[in-house]
């Protein structure tokens, strides 16, 4: 049994079909504006402060993400939330009618942090649609690029984006009582990271001046320097194409690449030690932190990093090659692993636009996937992107992000999902560098200046903001060891005389072809779906991790991940007198634990017209 909510069952061969006798199998009930009003009025009555509710509208707050929360300071609770992606960029519209070979380069521009992941996902999508199987060395080089990319991306988050929230500067200001404890609290893992107390760590997390902060900036540069040896440049690599890569691989290139990786062996050990110390301390300092950003662990990830012996780009075999990936695909609902099959993940995906600035579409061209499994009219293969700009109104439409669901659940995506699902699934291919136990992910980190270390990420008993960040710290080590695994494989292939890195292909001028790129980004779940007709892209859909996490409510009123996690967040901040000096640090910590990367999901805002306006946040924020 895979699906709880979608009316889909499986035969004895694992093929999905719609349950018989269910009229309108994909129908759903939307929460009405009146029901939403009643809900908000109920909040106000319970708070005893208002007879009715009429919130000031929130105009565009930030460049990309605007997050609105309603906070009761007296009870220290968040009572309502709304997550808004405020810009429209229209890549799905731009790609319609283009040559499929453009997809990798154009979609790459969706994001200035992870342009490589979009390029790769686009390449996989076109490979599946047109039956292009890359050569083994091309697959492995792609893995090197996409694991190395995260050596830039994940440390960036934990030290530059989220790290300052745990720095002396912030803690002293928002919770001086915690700072007082931190100065005396011994660091359990001092032997690894070198800090005697938690306070010392927090001082070095200070933004702009802290040693850990500055070191992270430097390490992100080292990772990018490694990346460009194979990718040509970063962001927006030049070498990723359908069918493989265009990199010329030599022994020198591989040696230089490895030299850049070496500093990460000790860095990964220190990442784990630092963040284990910080989060364990925060829990001890105030157990309420266990509920900060809390959610039942419900995640979807397509896995990543294909095994060159299994990946053949076909949908027919995607369950096999998917489960042989170096991080295992899967969905997990409330902590329970549901499936690791890519077809199940694909079949369960739907995107809803009831609270988004899009028009509904009418076509339903694909009733099934290429394997004959039923798919929804709301599946991306059936979706048409029709922008419908309007005023913000969080009772109705308030975001340019649509709402992806899996089996009608909103879910989370993240680097932590790769770690969590791989740990649970026990399907990782054999490796000297990592192992899944069903309850943990074991990582064998080689000796450098620090001794070799066996790090083990354990499935936590509660899932919250700190555990997301902690898993991301372990993900640095996981990324690194996947890079090493693939570096060894690349060397073996080169020794065997393999030199081909791409498979030539032609774009067929006739016929209809569909494909999907199931991949991941620094922030997890990433997929592109395409339909190619008579040689051009007839439809192209992109679903990013930030779409998943920042999505507005479902039609039936279930909040998205950001929204729900902040609703669950207690206000632990102590150093404020009233609303004038309240900082909302706990809400920010909850939000940042998802590693929000709004350029990925943002779009160019239209102000009262049907025209597309230039506020492209990765290519040109200023329209020159």
């Amino acid at each position: 049994m895979c699906f709880e909510n979608l009316p889909i069952e499986f035969d004895e061969d694992g093929n999905a079909r719609l349950k018989e006798g269910v009229p309108n199998p994909y129908s759903y009930t939307s929460q009405t504006v009146e029901e939403r009003d009643a809900y908000l009025a109920d909040i106000a009555r319970k708070n005893g402060q208002l007879n009715d509710v009429d919130f000031d509208p929130v105009t565009r707050v930030a460049g990309a993400l605007a997050f609105h929360s309603t906070v009761n300071l007296k009870d220290r609770k968040v009572v309502d939330t709304a997550s808004m992606a405020t810009l429209f960029r229209g890549y799905e519209v731009i790609l319609r009618g283009r040559d499929p070979r453009d997809a990798a380069f154009i979609s790459s521009r969706a994001c200035g942090v992870c342009g490589g992941v979009h390029a790769t996902t686009a390449a996989l999508c076109i490979e599946m649609a047109l039956g292009i199987k890359p050569p083994p060395l091309g697959i492995v080089i792609r893995n090197l690029l996409l694991s190395c990319e995260y050596l830039y991306d994940n440390p960036l988050h934990i030290f530059i984006l989220a790290g300052p929230d745990f720095s002396e500067t912030l803690i002293r200001e928002t919770n001086p009582e915690i700072w007082a404890k931190a100065q005396k609290a011994p660091a359990k893992f001092a032997k690894t990271h070198g800090y005697k107390t938690i306070g010392e760590i927090m001082t070095d997390l200070n933004p702009l001046t802290g040693k850990l902060y500055l070191e992270a900036l430097e390490m992100t540069r080292v990772a990018r320097e490694a990346y460009v040896l194979l990718g040509g440049k970063y962001p927006h690599p030049e070498t990723i194409i359908p069918g493989g890569v265009t990199t010329t691989v030599t022994t020198n290139t591989m040696t230089e690449f490895y030299v850049k990786l070496v500093p990460f062996f000790d860095y990964a050990k220190r990442c784990i030690a630092i963040w284990d110390d910080i989060y364990d301390f925060m829990y001890e300092a105030n157990p309420q932190y266990r509920h900060l950003g809390e959610l039942p662990p419900t995640m979807v990830d397509f896995g990543q990093w294909d095994h060159e012996d299994y990946y053949d780009a076909t949908y027919e075999n995607c369950n096999t090659w998917g489960e042989k990936r170096w991080s295992t695909p899967g969905s997990m609902v409330d902590g329970k692993l549901v499936t690791t099959r890519l077809t199940d993940l694909n079949v369960g995906i739907e995107e809803f636009i009831e609270h988004s600035y899009y028009e509904p579409w009418e076509d339903y061209p694909f009733k099934t996937d290429p394997a004959g499994n039923p798919i929804s009219p709301n599946h991306p293969w059936n979706k048409t992107t029709i922008p419908r700009p309007g005023e913000q109104n969080w009772k109705e439409r308030y975001s340019w992000s649509c709402t992806p669901t899996w089996d009608r659940h909103t879910f989370e995506a993240g680097a932590y999902a790769r770690v969590y699902l791989s740990a649970l699934a026990q399907k990782l291919p054999p490796s000297n560098y990592f192992e899944s136990t069903g309850k943990s992910l074991v990582l064998n980190l080689a000796k450098d200046k620090l001794p070799e270390m066996k790090a083990e990420w354990h499935v936590p008993d509660i899932w919250n903001a700190f555990e997301r960040n902690r898993a991301r710290a372990y993900a640095v080590a996981f990324n690194l060891m996947v890079t090493v695994e693939n570096w060894v494989r690349a060397q073996d292939l080169i020794k065997r005389g393999e030199r081909q890195v791409a498979t030539p292909f032609e774009i067929p001028k006739r016929g209809r072809h569909i494909g999907a790129g199931f991949w991941g980004a620094g922030r997890g779940f990433l997929a592109h779906w395409c339909v190619i007709e008579k040689g051009v892209l007839a439809n192209y859909q992109i679903s990013t991790p930030s779409t998943v996490n920042s999505c507005p409510r479902t039609p039936w009123g279930e909040p998205g991940a950001y929204e729900q996690s902040v609703l669950n967040t207690p206000i632990i901040e102590t150093n404020f007198k009233d609303e004038t000096d309240f900082k909302g640090i706990d809400i920010l910590r909850a939000l940042r634990s998802f590693d929000p990367c709004m350029p990925c999901t943002t779009h160019v805002m239209v102000e009262g017209t049907d025209r597309v306006v230039t506020r492209e946040v990765t290519t040109c924020a200023c329209g020159l």
Binding site: F55, L73, P207, T614
Partner: protein
């Protein structure tokens, strides 16, 4: 020989639909500055990456000239030459700009602040600011295409022609850039100082509405 970096911030050379970017780049490429070593740098990256590029470079620039489109409330199409004078910002105000910078947002304001913090700017930094309209995308951003579905053929029809008004703006930018490179701050009349106080402020990522603050408005929203 003075060494000068000429940075184009917000220019994307492959998108022809923008009215100014490619035309401006081509115009600048045709110019020469004898007696000056001028490096034309595309700065359409996150500012932290630009900082690291400067830090890695062996060159110490005598002057930096940035050409950038802005929205400061001026008349559309106006071009203004400004002299960066820096200023003090609180740590978290700089960090807020780094939040944007490392997630790939390109912004001349963020670049100025972050560059200032990491000490990459020389004494002379001139910013040529152009106020552009919101609508700066051509036909779906890219070249106009002719798609013949019956034959499965795509051909590029051509590029968006530049309008006379945009040509005027390009020439004005080119002229000011030329002066800024050849003569620096001393050679530009009507140079307006640009400090941190003049930059567009960032808005908070999270708006907290405190329950005591809830007010009635006239329309249900």
């Amino acid at each position: 020989m003075p060494t000068i970096a000429l940075g184009l911030v917000g220019y994307y050379q492959f998108i022809r639909g923008y009215p100014l970017g490619p035309e401006l780049k081509e115009r600048l490429d045709r110019m020469s500055w004898p007696g000056h070593q001028v490096d034309i740098k595309e700065m359409n990256w996150g500012p932290v990456a630009i900082v690291q590029d400067f830090q890695a470079s062996d060159i110490t620039y005598d002057r930096v000239v940035l050409v950038a489109a802005v929205q400061r409330g001026g008349a559309i199409g106006s071009v203004k030459c400004r002299n960066w004078v820096g200023g003090e910002l609180a740590v978290m105000e700089v960090q807020n700009r780094i939040f944007e910078a490392v997630t790939g947002i390109i912004s001349v304001d963020n670049l100025l602040v972050i560059g200032e913090h990491f000490g990459i700017w020389p004494k002379q930094l001139i910013v040529i600011e152009v106020e552009l309209p919101n609508e700066a995308i051509g036909n779906l951003v890219l070249e106009e295409l002719n798609i013949d579905q019956s034959k499965g053929e795509i051909s590029a029809v051509g590029q968006q022609p530049i309008t006379p008004e945009a040509e005027r703006v390009v020439e004005e930018i080119a002229s000011l850039t030329d002066t800024a490179i050849r003569k620096g701050v001393d050679g530009i009349s009507d140079l307006v100082p640009l400090s941190v106080k003049d930059l567009n402020p960032l808005a908070d990522i999270c708006h907290n509405q405190l329950i005591n603050d809830v007010r009635r408005t006239s329309a249900v929203n």
